[in-house]
Amino acid sequence: MHDLNPITPLGAAEARVDTHGPVTLTEVTDRALASVAARLGHEDETVAILTDFLGATPPAPARLAGAPLTAFWTGPDQWMIEAPLATHEDLAARLAAMADGAMSVTEQTDAWCRFDLTGAGLPEVFERLCAADTRSFAGGEALRTAIDHLGCFLLCRAVGHISVLGPRSAAGSLHHALLTAIRSAH
């Protein structure tokens, strides 16, 4: 076991939590990510492998599904797989081992920072941040959008619980934008 200590995208040892009004903003660092893209002509095999791995069919376009292993759609025949880091730090390697030439797998765990917003009044926050129609979210939506000039994924895990995945290097700016919008809206 290696002895290097990780830091969070915001540059600290511990994940940050902010609460303002009805909304709690939490830096989430305990999830592993891997991208999966079906190889040409192997789309059905990829779906079968992922179904086996996730225990459910990988989600349709613009959707998120599954727990504790989660997948969200990122493009035609492409998904991002989420898993608990504690048990799946080798997520990409595990998936790659199952691929057998049917799909391309790339580790994405540290490519993203993730901030979860929970509580009431999230649409009021997100309407100040991005073009996504979060007021119509009912849970299970997964969208690519731009927040503060940054390409982000917006994942609605349930009503009142939305994850924002953004570029890790810009975590500070993204966190600031989210917190500013929360304070503006509430």
């Binding site: 990780p6 540059g11 765990t109 996504a132 993204l174």
Partner: protein, 984 residues
């Protein structure tokens, strides 16, 4: 001062009295007042000075169309010029200053311009200030700008913040008057997602300004009741203080919400305004209509205003500009003003109606077939001159004159997609016409249906149609009985024979100016606008354009529709630049990207530099170092002599996988990649389609079907985008998958003769990184520090034996600390981008300065890398004759003949003895630095036939910076040209 012109009634909150200041006078008003209504109630009619002639002016309107009553609101950094007093909501402590006057509003020295008006006709400055030409910029324009103009900026940073936001709805209803409210009620009850937006804080539109009955209640009460009903619907969003400013493509509308403008200071964390982008499936324009004035002699005195405004001030704000008023009208609506004011106890001196068949009244005198032919009163109206149908004139005392020339539908938003309004001869006004913005329908006064009954039913009807169209069952709202008076109007635009009759009061454009423009052949309506400035500035001619068109039509012998309108463009009303900027200002202009070692570097006191959005350590100064170059020299020398570490995470990393990955790589790079062995890295040059070099970097092959491409920092995104374009559009049949991993891996360059020794303390023992097992250009997936997955590349930008090591980003900080500790025995130094740059110039490596968008592989000395054995993006076009001339530029090095001289980048090269001009230009220096290893300045750059001119001495010139000395052409590889070090 008491509120001597305050009337009974109104929709103001009399339970509270608030104070405000205008110039140096404190006055009282009530919540619900606007600045203009409160000033009028306090007996103040004079609120500003005109743009050009500095004429005394008061409010013309009671809304956003106001041309005259514009003030500087608030003080200090929050001071905002050109704010309309007619829309500024009164709050306790409000401070406003009048504009464009000196030393005071009542006595303005520049009102001398009015006396000199004959010199200031339309276009006067085009004719007057022609010579000498140089004087225009230096003297005339600044002088004119000082003399003319509107308000002044505070020149301090805006302390408030602005949000930008996005909303979605089935139907956007623009305007909360009778049509808008009825539409919202219908659409809301049908279950549609509705946004109802209005610039006014109080929903109701004209229902709040009239003394009308709707069913069994007053019109304003019906508006309030309906609003409360709508507010209770979860699917209806009421957005008051929100102006829809523009109609854009695909049902997208821009809207400015004034969140805090009615408060002294925005609450903590809250924005002053929000600029919304509204995505709508459908839109209903129910923006109402704007009254138009009649043009007559001296029609601009304070106290002369639109009749509907006079009525609105009395009914809604319980204020009147004077106790004795008159009305000048060509339609029945003017009579409504007279009867409403009479009902409020205001004396109506007369109604002058241009129609000979004007309705009669028992309560006031009606001068049928009459006109107003003059006015008097220096700082405010005192009396008017009226000429009756028989041509006999007399004077009538009055402190205010309401003018009504009819109403113009507010068509602006219907025209933002280049739809042109059409003339409606029944109401003598332009109505929406041509192609409306996609999904928009118009209802109520905005389409020329001027009665309350017509507006209500039109709103309900179009909303029901939309509901049905969107699959909902439209309800039948219970609409109240309301007035349904027909439009009774005889067109009358201006009184003949005037000399000083204002058409556009904001720009001081007179009827005479329009005639002059026509005389000088500015006959197109767009030329008329530019020549006279009619319809420009903050009000965009909302009250003036029609009269201007009518006079133009008359002098041109055309009809008004033949003259046509100018183009309506967003924004509908003035919008602060701050609202467009939103939160993107100052240090938050763009997001900041930080490297994995940023926290550590900051602890070391690093100086950071912006590289795109990245912050990179530029150098790491130590105590006692007095100059950045001292620091950089140390970092360079220590790296070359022992070992240095640099965070290179910012370089783009693209994961390329798939069974066709090798073929794809061969297509992307001009040199071959298909035969690159697994476990090896290769330098690659990527060309644009036109054969110009796009980017360079290394690509590593981790498996037969897996490459990792490295790009320059600046081109990380463009290269990824380019590769996706090639994959998706040019070669969709290739089995290849791409994803960026730039952020996923923290990557460090470890360079110098002791780099291997350092890394051997980091890399787990089961990975042999000796030169034999891991030679130059090797790559491998390894583990470090007891099992952490990592990647190791044996590549070198510095020219030294060097490695790049990558770990998952979260461990980058810890790895940096661990490597610095492990390297202590070697005197390891961190180095920044400046030392990185020095070392790559010493080594002669090209970077962004060289890949400048004009350079080919041949220019870089890499012509032979462009493989002829395979096809690749750009390889064919790189063979173009013009890119392969005999004297083509070649990358070479330069050293000064006099070792004390610099070799500045950007300087040009001239053959000795030739003139210094573009025709004799031999090339230019692209990158330069002081080389601490060589002890003098060096440079690299492009020189015609450079590779054949080694040893030649050239003139290096930079006329801009005064550089003119000699340099010698040398190899660009100043350090270790044979590459022994990096293979060590």
């Amino acid at each position: 001062m008491t509120q001597r012109n305050r009337l009974q009634g109104g929709l103001i909150d009399r339970s509270k009295t608030i104070s405000f200041r205008f110039d140096d006078r404190w006055m009282k008003g009530h919540p619900g007042d606007t600045l203009a209504s409160a000033l009028l109630a306090n007996g103040v009619r004079l609120m500003g000075r005109s743009f050009k002639y500095h004429r005394p002016r008061g409010p013309l309107s009671a809304g956003s169309e106001e041309p005259n009553a514009i003030v500087a609101l608030r003080t200090g950094a929050r001071q905002e010029p050109n704010t309309r007093a007619t829309t500024a909501e009164l709050f306790d402590g409000l401070t406003a200053q009048s504009q464009n006057r000196w030393p005071s509003l009542a006595f303005d020295a520049l009102s001398i311009n009015d006396r000199l008006s004959s010199f200031f006709a339309a276009g006067f400055y085009y004719k007057t200030f022609m010579w000498p030409a140089a004087f225009w910029e230096k003297l005339y324009e600044p002088m004119i700008r000082r003399a003319a103009g509107l308000g002044a900026l505070s020149l301090q940073p805006d302390p408030d913040s602005y949000d930008k936001g996005y909303l979605h709805c089935d139907v956007l209803i623009i305007g909360a008057g009778p049509a808008g409210l009825a539409a919202a009620l219908t659409a809301g009850e049908a279950g549609l997602r509705v946004i109802l937006a209005d610039e006014d804080p109080l929903p109701g539109g004209r229902l709040n300004a009239e003394r009308l009955e709707m069913g069994q209640q007053a019109s304003h009460a019906w508006a309030a009741e309906t609003t409360a009903w709508l507010a209770a619907m979860p699917n209806v969003r009421l957005m008051m203080r929100t102006t829809v400013t523009g109609a854009f493509d695909h049902g997208v509308y821009g809207a400015l919400e004034r969140v805090s403008d009615h408060l002294p200071v925005p609450p903590e964390g809250k924005p002053r305004q929000i600029l919304w982008r509204i995505y709508s499936a459908r839109a209903i324009l129910a923006a109402g209509a704007t009254e138009r004035p009649i043009v007559f002699e001296n029609n601009d005195r304070p106290g002369i205003m639109l009749a509907g405004a006079l009525r609105a001030y009395a009914n809604r704000w319980a204020a009147t500009p004077a106790k004795e008023i008159a009305v000048f009208t060509n339609n029945d609506d003017g009579h409504r003003t007279a009867s409403d004011l009479a009902a409020k106890g205001v004396t109506v001196a007369a109604v002058i109606d241009t129609r000979t068949d004007a309705p009669k009244s028992a309560r006031y005198e009606v001068v049928a077939g009459g006109t107003v032919t003059g006015t008097s009163g220096r700082l405010g109206l005192k009396r008017i001159e009226v000429t009756d149908a028989r041509g006999q004139s007399r004077r009538i005392d009055c402190g205010a004159l309401g003018v009504s020339g009819g109403w113009n539908p507010n068509v602006s938003l219907t025209c933002h997609q280049r739809g042109r309004p059409e003339w409606d001869a029944n109401i003598h006004a332009f109505v929406p016409g041509g192609t409306l913005p996609e999904g928009m329908v118009v209802a109520g006064a905005a389409e020329g249906a001027f009665s309350t009954h017509a507006a209500l039913h039109a709103g309900a009807r179009v909303a029901a149609a939309i509901a049905a169209d969107l699959g909902k069952t439209p309800p039948s709202p219970d609409l109240p009985q309301a007035e349904d008076a027909p439009v009774s109007l005889t067109p009358f635009w201006h009184v003949a024979g005037t000399t000083r009759a204002w058409v556009d009061q904001q720009n001081d454009v007179t009827a005479k100016d329009i005639r002059l423009a026509h005389q000088e052949n500015f006959t197109s309506v767009e030329h008329l606008k530019r020549y006279t400035t009619l319809g420009m500035a903050t009000d965009q001619g909302k009250t003036s354009n029609m009269a201007g068109l009518a006079i133009m039509a008359e002098v041109a012998g055309k009809s008004i529709p033949e003259v046509g309108t100018t183009m309506f463009r967003p924004p509908y009303t003035p919008t602060a630049i701050g609202a467009f900027a939103g939160r993107s200002r100052g240090t938050e202009f763009r997001p900041v990207r930080k490297t994995p070692s940023h926290v550590w570097a900051a602890e070391q006191g690093a100086t950071f530099v912006e590289v795109g959005m990245w912050l990179r350590a530029q150098w790491f100064a130590r105590p006692g170092e007095s100059h950045w170059r001292e620091t950089v020299n140390r970092e360079v020398l220590q790296t070359r002599n022992s070992v240095g570490i640099c965070d290179v995470t910012t370089l783009g990393k693209i994961d390329v996988q798939g069974s066709d990955a090798a073929a794809f790589m061969n297509m992307m790079y001009c040199n071959g990649f298909a035969k690159l062995p697994v476990g090896k890295t290769r330098y690659g040059l990527m060309l644009r389609e036109d054969g110009i070099a796009m980017d360079d970097g290394t690509a590593a092959r981790f498996a037969e079907d897996h490459y990792v491409v490295t790009t320059t920092t600046a081109n990380a995104v463009p290269v990824y985008r380019h590769m996706e374009f090639v994959r998706q559009c040019l070669f969709p049949d290739m089995d290849v998958q791409l994803i960026s991993t730039t952020e996923a891996w923290a990557q460090f360059a470890v360079a110098g003769p002791n780099s291997r020794k350092l890394l051997q303390k980091i890399v787990d023992a089961d990975h042999d990184i000796s030169n034999e097992a891991f030679p130059f250009m090797a790559c491998a997936e390894i583990t470090v520090c007891g099992g952490l997955r990592a990647r190791l590349f044996r590549i070198s930008f510095s020219g030294e034996m060097a490695f790049e090591i990558a770990v998952p980003t979260r461990y980058g900080d810890a790895l940096m600390r661990r490597m610095m500790a492990a390297g202590e025995e070697f005197g390891v130094v961190p180095y920044g981008t400046e030392a990185l740059g020095v070392m790559r110039i010493e080594k002669g490596h090209a970077a962004g300065n060289e890949l400048n968008g004009t350079i080919t592989a041949l220019n870089l000395g890499m012509g032979r890398m462009v493989s002829k054995k395979k096809d690749a993006i750009g390889s064919k076009l790189s063979e173009r004759e013009g890119l392969n001339e005999e004297d083509a530029l070649k990358l070479v090095g330069f050293k000064p003949v006099d070792a004390q001289d610099t070799v500045p980048a950007g300087a040009h090269l001239m053959t000795r003895g030739t003139p210094v001009d573009a025709a004799h230009d031999q090339g230019y220096v692209t990158s330069a630095c002081y080389s601490p290893n060589l002890g003098h300045h060096i440079g690299i750059g492009f020189l015609k036939s450079g590779d054949a001119r080694m040893g030649e001495v050239l003139r290096l010139v930079s006329p801009l910076t005064g550089v003119d000395h000699e340099v010698e052409v040398v190899s660009p590889h100043f350090i270790d040209p044979e590459g022994d070090r990096l293979r060590a």
